[in-house]
Amino acid sequence: MSEPLISVKDLTIRFRTDEGLVTAVENVTFDINPGEVMGLVGESGSGKSVTAKALMRLNAGNTRYDPKSRIILNLPDGPVDVFSLKRDAELRVVRGGAVSMIFQEPMASFAPAISVGKQMIEQLLIHTDLSKAAARDLSIEMLDRVGIPDAARRFDQYAFEFSGGMRQRAMIAMALSTRPRLLIADEPTTALDVTIQAQVIDLMKDLVSEFGMAILFITHDLGVIAQTADKVAVMYLGRIVEKGTVRQVIRDPQHPYTRGLLSALPKLEDLEAKLTPVPGDIPSPLDRPAGCVFQTRCPVAIPGRCDRDVPDDTNLSGGRSVACHVVADSVKQGMT
């Protein structure tokens, strides 16, 4: 198989706070291949946004990346070690160059007093050799491509003059205008109406195949993942507890947390069925549980083991892996 586009290995992120070092992400490892859509699922506070921002080195000044952490971006002109980038000019490759990001709130991610067009041109002038006029033409073309009517007129308007769906489209147009290899979408549809959500997701799927780029799709919504992603990683309290293809994970979840998430979803075919929420709350990152991060809420936790040993990834068939002692035991039993 060819090289992955981006390879994240043992990513551990801590924040220095007044209460001491707080671990937000621990030993996160995943690859995304060119043209692949990977979903990153988890509750708020699970570290998915922090992980995404690490790919662009956008986390705040009090962030400490563990020295073991590796993020390698394989570009046509050679691999880029994201943590070795120092100066602003070097960082541009992961900031709008080969990697672009769209955010949850399109309204808040446009500067309110600068026109949408000016912000688009600015980005193109930073990353390409285009002239201002060419950048303008390309930007209008991109706005047109994402389905913004009367793009040339809209180009000179401000974000507050756009509707919610239009803003997110413009955000996508802006993110894609530099033809990035990887698009990070941080809950891009959460703030939108359901009908607009579907439109935006369809648009993103179209653009992925057209531009041949990979997407890291961050969401807490497993339904959205089922529609869009090829593979999925489930995060809980800074760790990836289960990853595999969307079909594997959604049809046959192995980790107790993934199972809990799926049974908490309403089912259209059986509206009478009771929803089973995952019991308890996600613990504060300030006191991470010892052993398995999920043991405080796990219905099948083994006392004396799950609260002591951190489970290793157990590799299952089809490239899937699950970090759970119970799953590891049943696999071992199956082998003997």
Binding site: M56, L91, R92, S109, A111, Q119, E122, I126
Partner: protein, 335 residues
């Protein structure tokens, strides 16, 4: 563009309406002072020993036009002010108010404006840079200096500076002009002499205004820097000075510009105390004098009107400036 001119015209028209309203209020207040100009003048004459009768008062009232209805007198006053820039005679001093005020008002306004400009010229760049810097030493020393500026009363600062200057240089730094220029006509030399004196009140008034503005700018900047659009811009590769000035700095200036008119008023209110200590002859002191001591309604009204007019003018100017930098304001006002 034509839309913008239309907007500016609308604003100017509104400013004019505001001024007319202000003039009505000021004129009414002048009228509310017990006793008319005629009564007060003749009462003053009485103390000088001359006998006066009711008939004298009536005659004087007629001479001053005080027997005419209120609205007619207001229209006449406003007309003179707006068309000729003429405020009439002072009630007590019997002197033309324009001559009496002469340069004093413009000097006062100039000192206040200079203090205002000085404070913003310092506070805006320093506030922006300090909000974006993580240097604890720089930030703490800035905070110290500006809290000192906020906490130290102006009169105390003025007294301290005078004391130092008298002890070490033998010059109390008082007044606005050297003796030889005091009654001279305006010339380059007189202007230079004025500047060599005026820096002190400007500095004293400017310090606390700077401290205040600095805290405002810093707080607004910290607020803007944390916003998502700044992260989004840096995710697009915008960095360094461009990121700082084009994104959070530009967006934090709106409320700062909005507060200019308010600040001018505050500085003007502080001027008389400083002026008293530095023995400056300026309009604020004259206002107190005419209000508190001699009850000179015509003179007080003229000064209050001029001050309000300056603030209305400044607000008009900041409205235009705000519309220039913020499209939301532009759209909101133009519809």
């Amino acid at each position: 563009m034509s839309q913008f001119i239309q907007f500016a015209m609308t604003r100017a028209f509104l400013a004019l309406i505001t001024l007319l309203t202000v003039s009505l209020i000021v004129f009414t207040l002048m009228e509310l002072v017990p006793g008319t100009c005629a009564e007060r003048y003749l009462a003053f004459k009485n103390t000088q020993g001359s006998q006066i009768t009711i008939a004298d008062i009536k005659a004087e009232e007629r001479r001053l036009g005080l027997d005419r209805p209120f609205v007619e007198r207001w229209v006449k006053w406003v007309g003179n002010v707006f068309i000729h820039g003429e405020f009439g005679d002072s009630c007590i001093l019997r002197l033309n108010i324009n001559q009496l005020l002469a340069d004093k008002f413009w000097i006062s306004l100039g000192i206040c404006m200079a203090a205002l400009i000085l404070s913003y010229a310092i506070a805006v760049p320093i506030g922006i840079i300090s909000a974006s810097s993580n240097n604890a030493f720089v930030n703490n020393s800035l905070r110290f200096v500006s809290y000192l500026g906020l906490a130290l009363p102006n009169f105390l600062l003025a007294l301290i500076i005078m004391l130092f200057s008298t002890v070490f240089f033998g010059d109390s730094l008082t007044g606005l002009f050297s003796k030889e220029y005091r009654d001279a006509a305006w010339s380059m030399a007189k202007f230079g002499d004025f500047l060599s004196h005026a820096w002190l009140p400007v500095f004293i008034l400017g310090w606390s205004a700077t401290a205040f503005a600095l805290q405002t700018v810093r707080a607004l900047m910290l607020d803007e820097i944390g916003k998502l659009y700044v992260t989004a811009a840096s995710a697009r590769g915008v960095s360094g000075a461009r990121l700082l000035w084009r994104y959070p700095a530009k967006h934090s200036l709106g409320p700062v510009i909005n507060s200019l008119g308010f600040d001018l008023n505050r500085i003007f209110n502080e001027l008389p105390i400083v002026a008293l200590i530095l023995t400056l002859t300026e309009a604020g002191a004259l206002l107190f004098e005419s209000l508190a001591r001699s009850n000179d309604q015509q003179l007080a009204g003229a000064i209050i009107f001029l001050l309000t007019a300056s603030i209305v003018a400044l607000n008009f100017f900041t409205d235009i400036l705000l519309a220039l930098i913020d499209p939301r304001v532009r759209r909101g006002m133009m519809g």
